[in-house]
Point group: C2
Chain length 417, copies 2
């Protein structure tokens, strides 16, 4: 079975927005083992959307549209798709009731154009939208002797993702008689994609179910294991030995399964141990703090970060000795150690990471991870440092320094048990 994604929206053609929806839907389809041969983007234009649908119907078994489901007259996806597959649009009374209730609940006066959100191609299954006003829908067509499944999802990426995962995916699984499909992602840091592939190429090729496939992300590699089986439990059983094998081959470069990111991993390790964290940042300029505080509920572990972008701030906020900076400069192993020690003390935390360096140009970056090694009264700590020569642009340098700091901390926590 092959699927084609048609994203509808003039703003995509004007370059105002990147087509995240196509990525979201494709990623899930790939996990489901459904091939995607084409994406098409088309504007809010009935005739051109109709052409795109005809072309897609000719080359795919499943058409998934994103966008164009709202209440305005620009939103024409349902109308055009209904016309393309010879189905009338019909009013779904329960959806009318829902829309009217929403308006009266929100205290807005109901205008007729909002009724558009209660009309769907005849025979559609409604895909409820729990986080937006426009529902999606799905139907089957046998027009012209070819069986095609059509799924329509809303355009806002959060809504599209939720509905693709929670409603379109079960619809597709049923369609394909698929049973259960389970995926697990291994997160890897400190080893490039080609090194990972070198170590695992033959094994990856030998697998058919589960499959094992690499995804290179900026600065790290992910490996996805996907199993298809009659039951969820069986799929899990099939996945377990693959994960074990990868972990035994790649060792501690694998920092977690389905963990999301290095900062999630670090936060989890610290929370399990009841430990707290702080940071002292120069070159990363708040990026480390931002990445940790992107995680909901981090405040039980994270105490804060001193972003010290001047020598004076390093001295005043972190207690770095002026002599250290004078003698070794602000970008040195000595300074980064004092930054880490100062952060441990000022934030009263158990662990600290510190980074100082140059985001651009020739200079190196120094990273320290520090652990308070004794009680609250006597202040001692142990640390690791690393010097990294960075040849990237500003954004990638900073991202890589943050990655490396989190990874150093992870290894330090694990070494401590």
């Amino acid at each position: 079975m092959t699927a084609e994604i048609i994203s509808v929206g003039t703003e995509l053609l004007l370059g105002g927005t990147v087509n995240s929806d196509a990525q979201i839907v494709s990623e899930k389809l790939s996990e489901l083992g459904i091939n995607v041969y084409y994406h098409t983007v088309v504007g809010d234009n009935d005739a051109r959307l109709m052409d795109a649908v005809r072309i897609a119907a000719n080359r795919a078994d499943i058409i998934i549209t994103t966008g164009g489901l709202g209440p305005t007259y620009d939103d024409m996806t349902k109308e055009t798709l209904a016309k393309a597959f010879g189905k009338p649009l019909v009013l779904y009374p329960e959806e009318e009731a829902r829309v009217r209730a929403w308006f009266s609940g929100a205290g807005f006066s109901f205008t007729e154009n909002n009724l558009r959100q209660a009309y769907f191609p005849e025979g559609s299954e409604i895909l409820a939208n729990p986080i937006g006003t426009a529902p999606g829908c799905a139907f089957h067509s046998d027009l012209g002797g070819k069986r095609i499944a059509v799924i329509m999802l809303p355009g806002p990426p959060r809504e599209c993702r939720k509905m693709m995962y929670e409603q379109a995916a079960p619809f597709l699984k049923k369609l394909a008689g698929m049973g259960e499909i389970v995926s697990r992602t291994l997160f890897i840091f400190g080893m490039g994609e080609s090194a990972v592939e070198d170590k695992l190429r033959d094994y990856m090729r030998s697998l058919t179910n589960p499959t094992l496939a690499p995804y290179a992300k900026p600065g790290e590699v992910q490996l996805r294991v996907t199993a298809k089986a009659d039951t969820h439990a069986l799929a899990e059983e099939m996945i377990a030995p693959v994960i074990e094998r990868v972990q035994s081959v790649l060792g501690d470069a694998v920092y977690g399964v389905d963990i999301g990111s290095l900062e999630n991993c670090v936060l989890k390790l610290l929370r399990e141990r009841g430990k707290t964290l702080c940071a002292a940042e120069s070159v990363t300029g708040g990026l480390i703090a931002k990445r940790i505080t992107d995680i909901s509920g981090c405040s039980d572990v994270f105490r804060g970060s001193a972003v010290t972008y001047s020598d004076r701030a390093k001295i005043e906020l972190l207690g770095v000795a002026p002599e250290t900076i004078a003698e070794h400069t602000a970008v040195s192993e000595q300074t980064v150690i004092e930054m880490a020690a100062g952060a441990l003390s000022k934030f009263d935390a158990d662990y600290a990471i510190a980074v100082t360096g140059f985001a651009e140009g020739e200079g190196n970056t120094f990273i320290a991870a520090a652990e308070r090694s004794s009680g609250k009264d006597t202040f001692n700590f142990r640390f690791d440092t690393r010097e990294i020569p960075l040849g990237f642009d500003r954004e990638r340098s900073r991202a890589m320094a943050a990655h490396m700091a989190f990874d150093m901390l992870r290894r330090m926590i694990l070494a401590g048990g």
Copy 2:
């Protein structure tokens, strides 16, 4: 003239990567006034790429491909497009020399597959790639009596952007006999897209050259003015009164022209005045510092930020009085004022912004902007505060709080003259 973008790469269909190239190329085409009716994404597959090209050739005058120009056998864009338009691939000796020189310069041994990067469809103009190894190319076809221009750009977004702007755009301008096209973008904060449109709808509709078009970005609105004229100077002259008109209608909600972001605006204002900035962050968790330090060369203005995610850190690093927190809580106007004052003092800066609040749930967020109002010995400051009730998700709450903090600071600096 209409253009169609074909992005080539199986990784896009697997959902591993979002199609940034299509956005980059579309944005520039929109600025050039060239209509785009479709984007297509197709994998590294000769037959399917060929189909996509045939469909595009039928409905567009210009085909721009992105991706598939590298040296491996997966990279087939040039081969397939040459075949589609009946042109042989020919060796360009100067490109062969360039590739061989690159390999000997880098100390790598030359392998034959790299010669692929020196072959192009006959009659192609080479589009040099100053930041990557694979050049692009462009040619004209009159196959089947229809004149079509074909442009091929590399896949890595940085390379695609640079070559679209610096080489494909001049090629397209020449093609269209366009003269000069100049765009200016007005950046607006504190007014929603619909409010902006209400005030400017009739004016926008009355304009044909220059044109005036809104772009909604998360949390702000941009208006783009685009003029076409025989000379650059003439286009600039045509744009000036439109900018004036928009500024007079929208007032100080317009924070800059081609300024990029609120943090860029603030940094520029401070630099012009020789003033320095620091921050004290709770709920934004380093996002304010991160956004400023994303800007290259910010260190002459920015002193740092204290990211204080615990009460103790607010007291220890910023000197907030324990009684203030005890009496008013850490999320209060009183606390945010003391955070701002503490930051001014600790970082020895001229201006501070401070934010405390809740990223999720019901609570409000308090923002302060503060200006040191006297010399270094006596410490006085004046401040503005704002309380914002936020109903967004974590990411948007934090982004909006940072936006508002920058905007408050901007208004304070401007009010100070």
